[in-house]
Amino acid sequence: MPALLLLLSGCASIPEAVRELPAGAALELDDAPFYPQERYQCGPAALMTALTQSGADVALDNIVEKVYLPGKKGSLQVEMLAATRTEGRLPYVIDGTLSAIRNELESGRPVVVLQNLGVAAIPRWHYAVVVGIDADRGEVILRSGTDRRRITSTRTFLYTWRRGDYWAMVVLRPDELPATVNRERYYAAIAALEQTGRLEAAALAWRTAENRWPGDPVVLFGLGNVESALRNFAAAETIYLALLKLDGSLLVVRNNLALVLAEQGQFAAAINEIGTALERNDDPALEAELRDTERMILAMRAAGQ
């Protein structure tokens, strides 16, 4: 009995914010594709559903190669995100609430979830895809394992989901916003796309963000940086200048502006910008980067580029 109680500990109530669901018509994405999983390969199967629903042209074998980790007999969450990016899509971790899941379903997007189907002491980690939700009946419908429609009570679903810290992700096309958007997390998602070199997709995503939040400094910086990475230096310059008009204190923007000026052979202007940045800087962490940039610009000038 003590062992049982020990295993049950952690079954305290689920927070209201997580479990509340507005009463509404039952929702189900009937046409969300189903990929019955092979042994240990619930990750690829779940990701395939979300990717193909978003219109990506993908093959299961390719996804298996990208996310299945033989030594762990499963798939890591970060690799699920990484694989999504390599297929030209924007992975976004949604808020860990039932209403966030419902909102995504309403937008036509199935939600990949991490569940612990066991308990903390004896875990069985599993990826499934939420394709339906029914607040009145208290049910969640999942593509799960070899079940095309696994109907789970909301209560049980929440227990299994909670043990994975309510992790859930959706696959967005770069021009799509999540149904419930946390701005910082969304920006971080686009920045991640940039970092992995998916520049056209990142540009599209930043422009989508700009429509939604015009004049946001992070968005403009992102747009400028993508243009720089694409070597569209004149376009990048225009964006950085506009951004500095909005907020002249952003020294990181001055840094990048200086570099794109140098790339266009405008060395005097470049040196002026980086000089201004160095003058105004009081952040020791940034100092080294600014000095490096100054050195680079001087070297470029000396090389007569």
Binding site: L7, C42, K66, V119, A188, Q195, T196, F221, N225
Partner: protein, 127 residues
């Protein structure tokens, strides 16, 4: 540096350069990344390029040790953000892998059955 350590260092350097060749270089040198203006990304954005390359190398070796094909490991890593790469480097052993692997020790089967019946777990299909 002893000869042995030097050899280790050189091998590491060589493996880093091999990985560099497949590494997605997004921004021109000297550019400060967008992550700098995003609070949750600031730490990852401020680490040096060399540290990123070393983390890349480190995680690549760990993934290969976990059974990933040498030929595909670089492509897999290319999809990770810098923050995710650092996270993996630090915590790959602790991270859960969804895959339905279940180590059942005989005596706890009954306990799991009870938990299943009260709806706490969802392991068994037809119960």
């Amino acid at each position: 540096m002893t000869l042995y350590k030097l050899r280790g260092f050189l091998l590491r350097l060589v493996s880093v350069s091999i990985i560099c060749m497949g590494f997605a270089q997004a921004a021109p040198a000297g550019m400060i990344g967008t992550g700098h203006l995003i609070e949750s990304e600031a730490r990852a954005a401020s680490i040096s390029r060399v540290e990123v390359l070393l983390a890349h190398d480190d995680v690549a070796r760990q993934l290969v040790a976990l059974g990933v094909d040498q030929a595909t490991v670089v492509e897999r890593l290319n999809g990770l953000s810098t923050a995710e790469l650092l996270e993996l480097e630090e915590q790959i052993d602790d991270q859960v892998a969804g895959g339905d692997a279940l180590a059942l020790i005989g005596a706890v089967f009954l306990v799991l059955l009870i938990l299943e019946l009260v709806g706490v777990t969802d392991i068994f299909k037809s119960i």
